[in-house]
């Protein structure tokens, strides 16, 4: 242990393994003041928390996202959950899991107009509208290509404001779809305020639990890539159709993701 660092005089012991930060966005090598967090690291944390707190409350720009999806050739059906606003959404998860009366009626009309699609496509803002706003269109474009390549027919994109994961069950049931693919904004973290999740469900219907769903999480720059997420989803859907189920009974046995191939574990050298 050397004592040559000038900042030690000011009470800070720095960690010289900060070079490892290139392997992870985790807050490693923060140094210490005594055994506590140095002032700079403390304030950086406080700022990130403040930003994440604010991110929870940013509303989705529905028109901009609709335009973007239309440009991809996708039809959008705007829907709303039974939670009228964000404060209600946060305290009443039951309301965020169900469609409001208007949305329900609209989907029933749609279902009566033609044959049911194989897959219901749903976008829900969840706890991060930022994730949906920034990443959903690109993700959805890849998913649509992959599912069509497998010969599946798709519903229009059901865009649900103040929606939770289980709202997709009701949509899938109303549309008579055999499968549900739902994209949702995951709750914002300090270092990842824009993470998207995909939930896949076989035979969606109201009242299902998480045990019936498969989740692909952390889709964002720096997290799981759109390519990896698409590949996993396509694999899950193929297996699901073969087995006739989803969730706990359907293990993700797709190949290892690309992102793992880059680095080796230096601790074992």
């Amino acid at each position: 242990m050397t004592d040559s660092n000038p900042r030690r005089k000011r009470g800070i012991t720095e960690n010289d393994w900060a070079g490892l930060k290139r392997f992870t966005p985790a807050r490693i090598a923060l140094g210490r003041a005594g055994i506590s967090l140095p002032t700079r690291a403390h304030l950086e944390f406080q700022l990130c928390h403040a930003q994440a707190r604010d991110a929870v409350h940013i509303p989705l720009n529905r028109d901009a996202l609709t335009t973007e999806l239309n440009d991809l050739g996708l039809t959008v059906i705007p829907l709303h959950s039974r939670a009228p606003d964000r404060p209600t959404y946060l305290q009443r998860p039951d309301l965020g899991r169900r469609l409001d009366a208007d949305a329900g009626a609209r989907l029933k009309r749609l279902a009566s107009e033609g044959a049911a699609a194989d897959v219901a496509l749903v976008l829900a803002d969840g706890l991060s509208s930022t994730a949906v706003q920034h990443h959903a269109a690109a993700m959805l474009a890849r998913i649509v290509d992959a599912l069509r390549a497998d010969g599946l027919s798709l519903s229009p994109v059901c865009l649900v404001e103040q929606g939770r994961v289980a709202v997709g069950d009701e949509i899938g049931e109303l549309l008579g779809a055999r499968m549900l693919v739902l994209l949702v904004g995951e709750r914002p973290g300090l270092s990842a305020p824009d993470s998207l999740g995909i939930y896949y469900t076989w035979n969606p219907r109201v009242g299902l639990t998480d045990a019936a769903r498969n989740c692909i999480s952390n889709i964002r720059p720096g997290g799981l890539s759109v390519d990896d997420a698409t590949r996993r989803l396509a694999w899950l859907i193929r297996e699901s159709r073969r087995l006739g189920c989803s969730g706990v009974a359907l293990k993700d046995g797709s190949g290892e993701p690309d992102a793992l191939d880059g680095h080796t574990n230096f601790l074992l050298e």
């Binding site: 490892l20 490693i28 055994i35 305290q91 998860p93 709750r187 973290g189 706990v248 290892e256």
Partner: protein
């Protein structure tokens, strides 16, 4: 039995024990969401008066969830030990509180009592307790477990090193593992939440953590927090599994929503025991719980969330776990609205678990959509330290970059060690000194410069 009380010129009646328990619960958003909370503050206290008069025996006669409908109720009643219960068998809930606080309820008495208590009894008495009562009584309990390290002795406090990474990148995970070890964390377990349940990715992490533990001869255990069925598959295929993980809850239906049952957990427990990988003990299970999980799965049967949570400890107890972790602030504000509710819940969970003989730790945490911040976490950390909890989480800078929530940091563990004189597990404490991470007085030495065993990493810096 008639549940009623006359207070303030009014008669308060409660339909049954289940309603009485819910109305007696200190305010929290989850019970409000379920529509079972007291309608006002006076009714809550009236329920507490009434609950104080209920004989402890009554909980054996009036199950809150029917015996025929729920295997957790069957487990609780079928495994109840009347001989262990005898010292408190004639007490009411209120008298039980006084007895627990008294000098006669010392560590050995409480240890012997545990098999005689049911979750409902300890949940009931906790509802009559203030924060200081929850701390004082839990502090008298000692639940010690072991695998490669010994966890839970008085004066000790361990940490789970939680090196999560958004893509499970091996170097990214390794960076957090190293940071944690150099900050003296990881004696409860090196336990990673995988970014996916993908079998190949999960087993790669199992092998990696096992390799690191063996390479540096660390007296700790590894765990990849994936579904119990994935553990079983990994065990069958010869992967290195130290601890089997599973999230559990307090009702059969909530467990079913997690895709588990008592028989499945039993199968996993037996499979892990058969591996015989522990050196100083054979506690091979790691469970996580949290208030609100049963309600979240619509599987609470009208029972308040704190009682449901205590019932999860009966499930845990059945399998002699190394670690039981209440992930108190993770579930969100619809169940625990703010710092005040999270703090109370964490202390209740720890108290109930310890009284039942369960090795309780706590993921002292919050999400960004809850009304809570680092100050709240410092309060709960300090109080749980005073209550003698077995372990906390340790993560770089309190920021979980994969699960997107804030839990306790490597630094936080040292704060508690310094303020309350806590020490790591004895085997790990010796390893830290041997590695040059701490000095002979147990103080953190690492700063600029890597200890010899890790010097080879310098070329990556």
């Amino acid at each position: 039995m008639n549940y009623q009380v006359d207070l303030a010129q009014r008669r308060y009646r409660f339909r049954d024990l289940r309603e009485l328990m819910a109305k007696a619960s200190p305010l929290r958003s989850g019970d409000c969401l379920a529509g079972i909370a007291a309608t006002n503050a006076t009714e809550r206290v009236a329920a507490q008066y009434c609950l104080a008069e209920v004989p402890l025996r009554r909980f054996l006669e009036e199950p809150l969830i029917p015996y025929e409908r729920d295997e957790v109720t069957r487990l609780i009643l079928d495994s109840h030990d009347p001989a262990a219960f005898a010292p408190v068998a004639d007490l009411s809930v209120g008298e039980f509180r006084d007895w627990l606080l008294s000098e006669q309820a010392d560590t050995s008495v409480l240890t012997a009592l545990a098999p005689g208590l049911t979750p409902e009894m300890v949940a009931a008495v906790s509802k009559l307790m203030r924060v200081q009562d929850l701390i004082l009584v839990a502090g008298k309990c000692e639940v010690v477990t072991a695998f490669r390290s010994t966890i839970g002795r008085q004066g000790r406090m361990s940490t789970r090193l939680q090196p999560n990474h958004p893509t499970d990148d091996p170097a990214g995970v390794a960076a957090s593992v190293l940071d944690g070890l150099l900050y003296g964390n990881g004696d409860a377990v090196i336990g990673i939440n995988p970014a996916t349940d993908n079998y190949h990715a999960v087993t790669r992490l199992m092998r990696m953590l096992d390799d690191v533990i063996r390479r540096y001869d660390i007296p700790t255990q590894s765990c990849v927090l994936t579904h119990v069925t994935t553990h079983l598959e990994a065990i069958n295929r010869g992967e290195p599994v130290d601890l089997v993980f599973q999230s559990i809850a307090g009702t059969e239906a909530a467990n079913a929503s997690f895709g588990v049952s008592l028989s499945l957990l039993d199968e996993a427990h037996q499979a892990a025991l058969a591996l015989g990988r522990g050196t100083v003990g054979q506690n091979v299970m790691y469970f996580e719980t949290g208030q609100g999980s049963a309600l979240s799965a619509d599987a609470h049967h009208g029972v308040d969330q704190q009682t449901c949570e205590a019932r999860a400890y009966a499930v845990a107890r059945r399998f002699d776990p190394l670690l039981v972790n209440t992930v108190v602030g993770f579930i969100g504000p619809e169940y625990l609205y703010d710092g005040k509710q999270i703090i109370r819940a964490g202390l209740e969970d720890h108290f109930c678990g310890k009284l039942l003989g369960v090795p309780m730790g706590c993921d002292i945490c919050y999400t960004n959509h809850a009304e809570a911040d680092q100050d709240d976490m410092d309060v709960l950390l300090t109080l749980l330290g005073a209550a003698g909890l077995n372990f906390i989480m340790g993560i770089p800078g309190a920021d979980d970059i994969m699960l997107n929530y804030q839990t306790t940091s490597f630094h936080d563990a040292w704060y508690l060690r310094q303020v309350l004189g806590k020490r790591p597990a004895p085997e790990f404490e010796a390893w830290l000194e041997r590695m040059g991470i701490t000095d002979a007085g147990g103080r953190l030495k690492t700063g600029a410069g890597l200890p010899n065993a890790f010097a080879h990493i310098a070329r990556h810096l």
